[in-house]
């Protein structure tokens, strides 16, 4: 009997298979996504938040595939993976629902829905695996669907080039990551297990821990590998084009969910297993994340197309998450995980709405869109306003709670009357990023939806097929924004146990 988590991971794959064999594509995909959301919520409900230390993962299942080295198809959740799992099921449902109807897809609608489902399955598998090998392997499940989807259904003349760029870039990134992970595996203990929990225990045991010099170069490999996947400056250049040119559901899933894998890996793997490496490269990460926030923030302002602007902004916001990761401590990591959730949902919402706009007006260039569209499509304008505010981090949305926690986290280790450390300086500079995002988001909103009307088209306002996913995302954002405890309670026991933070 498969466990609930196994069903969660394999249901989308089975649904994709069913579609391949002729099941109605949209119906099956949405059905699978709804069931998955249900399973995800039930799993969250049955997660015991009052657990005291000791047991790390819950709802565990394990099927041993190889004895030596020990390799198992093992799933389990702790607070962090639970939150990311919820993010995935929510965004998947929204993405599948927001996909165009079968009749509107030129080419094969089957492939369209199969790809979304496979990406979702890959993300779920990566977040829920408690085995290092499958954590990596599941993430790569998205590689081919993304490649095919951008090349076949993408927007713009450059879509083929974009598809190649993202594939090669991420392919190389994952290979570097793979080399780092293998090096990590080989250097921990007797190199005979891929179980993450066991590896962490060994990495923190003073007898079996990795020597500092080794930690240093392995951490660098992991940082570059994960950094490429999460578009850390200067490895970000694949991201904005890919998100701009990809079909809407792919952008939603990729920017909203899949990209979080890099951060997840850094917090889950690199942090606890290579504490000395993390410390050594901390300043480098701080410099890079400032690059994300300030330099790329300024680049975002200069964008002339809405989809590229949203893509850049998603790259920029990754800087805050990194800040939370570097700050560490209960508050910093909590803030980082919470922001991963909040950002995932809000960026998916922005891409969904941008997709709706493109469908109506054919282009997303600010100049071509003109202004005053708020009069034509008021509901779309209203929802876009919400999304923009959420993305900036206004109170009431999950993003706000998360960013506040991250900044608090950065100042937490400070002692009275001590001079500011580099971390705190970085946090202060990063605060300006909030201003930058306010500038570009509000400017975009004003340009598109306010002012005099210039276009002559008279499109319909949002249909229910567009409203449902958008509302689903907004409700999740506001729920967490007003009551962050709803997610934070899952994080607390996990943070105290050793899966998340070293010693």
């Amino acid at each position: 009997m498969p466990s609930s988590l196994e069903i969660l991971v394999f249901l989308p794959i089975l649904a994709a298979l069913a579609i391949g064999f002729g099941a109605p594509a949209r119906f099956t995909a949405i059905g699978a996504a709804i069931i998955n959301l249900g399973i995800g919520l039930v799993a969250a409900k049955s997660y015991n938040v009052n657990i005291e230390g000791g047991a790390v993962f819950q709802l565990e299942s394990s099927r041993v595939l190889l004895e030596s080295p020990k390799l198992a198809l093992a799933f389990g959740v702790d607070g962090m993976s639970l939150i990311l799992m919820l993010l995935t099921v929510i965004v998947t449902l929204a993405a599948v629902w927001a996909s165009p109807a079968e009749s509107k897809i030129k080419g094969s609608p089957k492939l369209y829905y199969i790809s979304s489902l496979l990406i979702a399955a890959g993300a779920l598998g990566a977040f829920l695996s408690t085995d290092l090998f499958f954590l990596y392997a599941f993430h790569e499940l998205a590689l081919i669907p993304t490649f095919l989807m951008i090349g076949m259904y993408g927007h713009g003349k450059n879509r083929k080039r974009t598809a190649w760029t993202i594939t090669i870039y991420l392919g190389v990134g994952s290979l570097i990551l793979l080399a780092g992970l293998i090096a990590l595996f080989v250097n921990i203990g007797q190199n005979d297990t891929f179980s993450i929990a066991e590896m962490i225990v060994r990495a923190q045991d003073s007898e079996t821990m990795i020597p500092e010099a080794t930690q240093s170069w392995i951490y660098l490999l992991l940082l570059v590998g994960f950094g490429v996947l999460v578009s850390l400056f200067p490895f970000h250049s694949w991201a904005p084009d890919a998100y701009a040119d990809a079909p809407t559901p792919i952008s939603m899933l990729h920017a909203g969910v899949l990209k979080k894998f890099g951060l997840y890996g850094l917090i889950r793997i690199a942090g606890p297993m290579l504490p000395a490496g993390a410390e050594k490269w901390m300043n480098l990460v701080l410099v890079l994340l400032l690059g994300n926030i300030i330099i790329l923030g300024l680049v975002t302002i200069a964008q002339k197309r809405l989809d590229r602007m949203i893509g850049m902004s998603s790259v920029m916001h990754m800087g805050y998450v990194f800040l939370g990761v570097v700050a560490g401590g209960t508050i910093g990591i909590s803030g980082a995980v919470l922001l991963m959730f909040a950002h995932g949902v809000s960026i998916a919402l922005l891409f969904a709405l941008a997709g709706s706009l493109r469908e109506r007006f054919g282009s997303l260039e600010f100049d071509k869109l003109g202004g005053g569209l708020g009069k034509l499509v008021p509901k779309l304008g209203l929802l876009f306003g919400f999304a923009a505010f959420a993305s900036i981090g206004l109170p009431g949305f999950a993003n706000f709670a998360a960013e506040v926690m991250i900044f608090f986290g950065a100042f937490q280790p400070m002692e009275a009357n001590a001079p500011l450390s580099f971390l705190q300086w970085a946090a202060i500079i990063s605060l300006w990023g909030v201003v930058i995002s306010a500038v570009y988001m509000l400017r975009a909103f004003r340009k598109i939806f306010k002012g005099p009307l210039t276009t002559t088209e008279t499109p319909k306002d949002m249909s229910w097929n567009e409203r449902v996913p958008a509302l689903l995302l907004i409700v999740s954002l506001m729920l967490v924004g007003f009551y962050p405890e709803i997610l934070l309670k899952y994080l607390r026991p996990a943070l105290e146990s050793l899966t998340l933070i070293g010693s």
Binding site: I144, L148, G171, V186
Partner: protein, 502 residues
Amino acid sequence: MPVYYLEIIVVVLGLVMLMADAFVKLEDKRNIAWFAVLVLSVVFLLLFKVSWPESTEGSPFWKFYDAEKGSRGFSLFFKGIAVLTTIIVLIMSAEFRGVLLKYTAKPEDGAHPQSGLSEFFTLPVFACAGLMWMASANNLASIFVSLEAVTITFYILVAYMRRNVGSLEAGVKYLILGALSTGFLVYGFTWLFGVTGTMDLAGIKEQLALDSVNVTAALFAFALIIVALGFKVGAAPFQNWIPDVYQGAPTPITAFLSVASKAAGFIVLLRISGCFFGSGDLSEKVGAVFVVLAILTLLFGNLAALPQTNFKRLLAYSSIAHAGFLLMALASPITLVADGKEPPLLDTSIGVIAFYLGAYLLMTLLAFLVMTAVRNQQEDDSLEGYAGLAKRSPFLAFSLLVSMASLAGVPLTAGFFGKFFVFKLAIQNGACGWLIAAGVIGAAAGFYYYFKVIASMFWNAPAEGNDGPIPVSMPAKVVMVLLIIAIFAVGIVPNLILGLIK
């Protein structure tokens, strides 16, 4: 049943096929192939039922046929690879008959409209017997004889489409370079015999480990042998023949060459290099040679594959590239376990190579099956011909997608585990950084050229006048479905292959 009966059965099968063609009147000569597939399938099942001799003392036979306890599993595994490849190649050949007969049969002279077809089925069976013996050969003489049995069969098969210029050219190239490499091999063997005074591999290993061994002469012998075997497995800088011969040969034979012949080359390479790895002084130098070969092969195979526009040629370079990964496993020095325990399978070069070859068989044969089906519909194998395959035949496109993904090493396919184990072995055994870097560069380049095929199939529209559906015969379809399932199954449960090596 004694293990050597298997080879006998296969040889007798080949003889029966010859006689059947000569003396039985057959409308459709494919029946001969189906018969062979049936018998070989039985042989494949018999692999699990063989018995080994209690003792190898006494009978001189076992001086030529390996029955060591440690290597029995590997011998059987490689025999299995040979048999399985032959089965699939026969099915592929039956599918390929239309193209083949165009260049062989001459019905206007009153000959049978399928004349020449049955020999095309028979020769791979003989080659299979040679390959099976090679998997167990433990003596320079038996290695040489079995290797030549295979190579000479291939000389004929490569040039089989005798009215096709490409096939003839490939045949001549293969013949001349193959004969040259055989010369190197024999010369190397004589030197090895001169240094050690024995033809027996176990004896050679013993002699080479002695302090009194003439290191220079032994290394010279090794250099000659490595030239010959490097040629057989397609290692740079001895890879020049591969693209032309692969492109010119009939497609099923290309598949046979790229899987079975490579596997056989690696068994021999493993066995012979094992003798050299036994002594500390030699093993260091021999290991260095393998590192250099592996780096060259990885870089050449992968980088030269990038600009290819012909699918068959692309697969030829890809086969060089995979030889590079296999050499990378071979170049990682074998871990010595202190307390005399057997090291875990995946910590040994031979275990990793066996697994890799098993995975390689699945994905490569799948690609060639698709190529055979497409080739029936159009004249050439250029990548442009695969444009829009997703529309013309979703099944074939999906099969090729799976095969390419696995060859590129996308996780959850068999190919990924192969690469993963190779990298793990290399990093674990402290291989030099350049080798690992070359491996990473190679794997990254692989993403590009394998995905190029996928892009061509899915992104582009079919060319004008070349957009009809592509029929696939039932047996080929069944084999393809089985291969796809196997690729995914092994990609999740590697024990499916590892369990066979016992």
